[in-house]
Amino acid sequence: MINRLRVTYLLTLALLFSTHAFCAEGPSIRSAGARFVSGHWQVEIGLTDSLTEAPANCNLVDVTHSRFVAVVGCSITSLGSGVLMRLNDKEDLNADTAYIAVLQSMIFTPKDSGVVRPVKVLEKDVLVAQPSVPPAIGPSPTPAPTPVTHTPCFLGRFGDLFNVASFGAADGRDDANLFFSGQVTHSRGKDFVGTYDTKLDFSGRCNLNGTVHLIGPMLDLKGGNDPNGSPDSLNFGFLWEFPILRRNSLLSSIRLTQNPRLESTQDFTQRNFIYGIDFRGVFKPWVSGNSMIRSHFRPVVGAEVGKNLHGIIPAVDSKNIARVKIGTAFFLIFAVAIPALQDITFETSYARRWPLIDEVTFAKGKSGGFTPIFIGTTPRDYVKETMALNFTKVFGTSVAYEYGSVPPLYQFLDSKFTFGLNVKLKFDSK
């Protein structure tokens, strides 16, 4: 009777404090499962936050029979993200029985640069598998059945497009699977002027010969009716990217990106087939002592070869294309992490393209028609500086400065400033 009262008291206490912990978004137990190892049962408890030391009390409650299971000892993993509860050799857990793990009197490590956080009680249902089935120690106590699919790895993310729950915040345009950036301006007596920038990336991961490759289709669409905006362009292509050299003291990897694509104006009047190949150095990040300031450096060397499929003027028609490219990208991130401002990001990217074959583009004449512009083999530079203020992980604003020209039209952007609203989403399904 006393034992039953103790169990009831402990469970009530656990429920009370775990509800409080949930409301306050404090530390919690993320998973709890039991496995039979070396002649005894062991309960493994995963935590959302790291402990400084083992809990003062660890209990396993047999709810079905209202009794405590005999616990020999309790320890934490080396980083404190898990608690290991060893049971008495004579105890035998049964999958048909309901168990609850209860941890008491814990001290968690600080969240950011704060102080340690004491927590009185945490509890979680413990999964014990049938004897013929492996114990299901996982992040979810009731994992949803995974449908058996035979989708090729390079189409592995198509299904995510139709699953709204699979979206999470991305870090920027390059990081996003779905990206939209737009702006609209209006002056008295004039029409609305707007531009947009859309990206869809469905590349999936395929593990080939001991290396994870990113393979899949992607689409870039830029345009609008702003006469000073970027030229309308539509790139539809196939991405194939993988690391060719990994990890030394400076480099995290060198990534080889191959990107055959259709590069065109949005109305398809000018179409080029381009095969692009880039070698991108992924340098190890620089991180300040408190991790509030971080920077990344990504130099790029590459080439683009291809052929014009359809030119709007005869001078462009069927011309071969060959360009060499060097460039770099540099990111500087200030993690402010206050409620109204997540971070401030500065991104600088630069690219210089050397056409190896004379290139020709065109301009729309005032009286209609198109006139050719001979670019020749003069190197073309393009630089973009972006400052982004991310108010939340999904929404933010950005200010960008652009100078230079990019193929296929090489329309010169002379110190173009852009103010925009960004929505960044990334597939995040479990």
Partner: protein
């Protein structure tokens, strides 16, 4: 079905912690002890390139990745990582995505040359 039931066991938390710790240190820059609540961005793993390098290291590195502990991840697409993913969530993802048994022919990144 393997004859030894132990090979069917999911990855222990301590093993996942060890693998994730080594892989995050290999790809990112860790100034202090890693804590379960730390997001990957704290270690500079916050853009697509760094996250893909982390995935590749976890999946294929025979010295520090899941193959080093006798596990494999057959579908790397299951590793849904982003810059705000915490270390604890990374552990969960690795546990949920891995199966016992070595099928990968991956090499240690230190050995692999272009």
């Amino acid at each position: 079905m393997a004859s030894d039931p132990s090979v069917l066991l999911p990855m222990p938390i301590s093993t996942a912690e060890k693998i994730c710790d080594a892989c995050v240190r290999a790809v990112g820059t860790v100034k202090d002890t890693i804590r379960a609540q730390d997001p990957l961005s704290k270690f500079g793993i916050e853009d697509k390139d760094a996250i893909e390098d982390l995935v590749n290291t976890i999946v294929n590195d025979e010295k520090i990745g899941v193959p080093s502990e006798g596990y494999n991840i057959s579908d790397p697409n299951k590793l849904h990582l982003k810059n705000s993913t915490t270390f604890a969530q990374l552990e969960d993802t690795v546990i949920a995505s891995s199966q016992a048994g070595k099928v990968s022919s991956g090499k240690s990144s230190a050995e692999k040359q272009p």
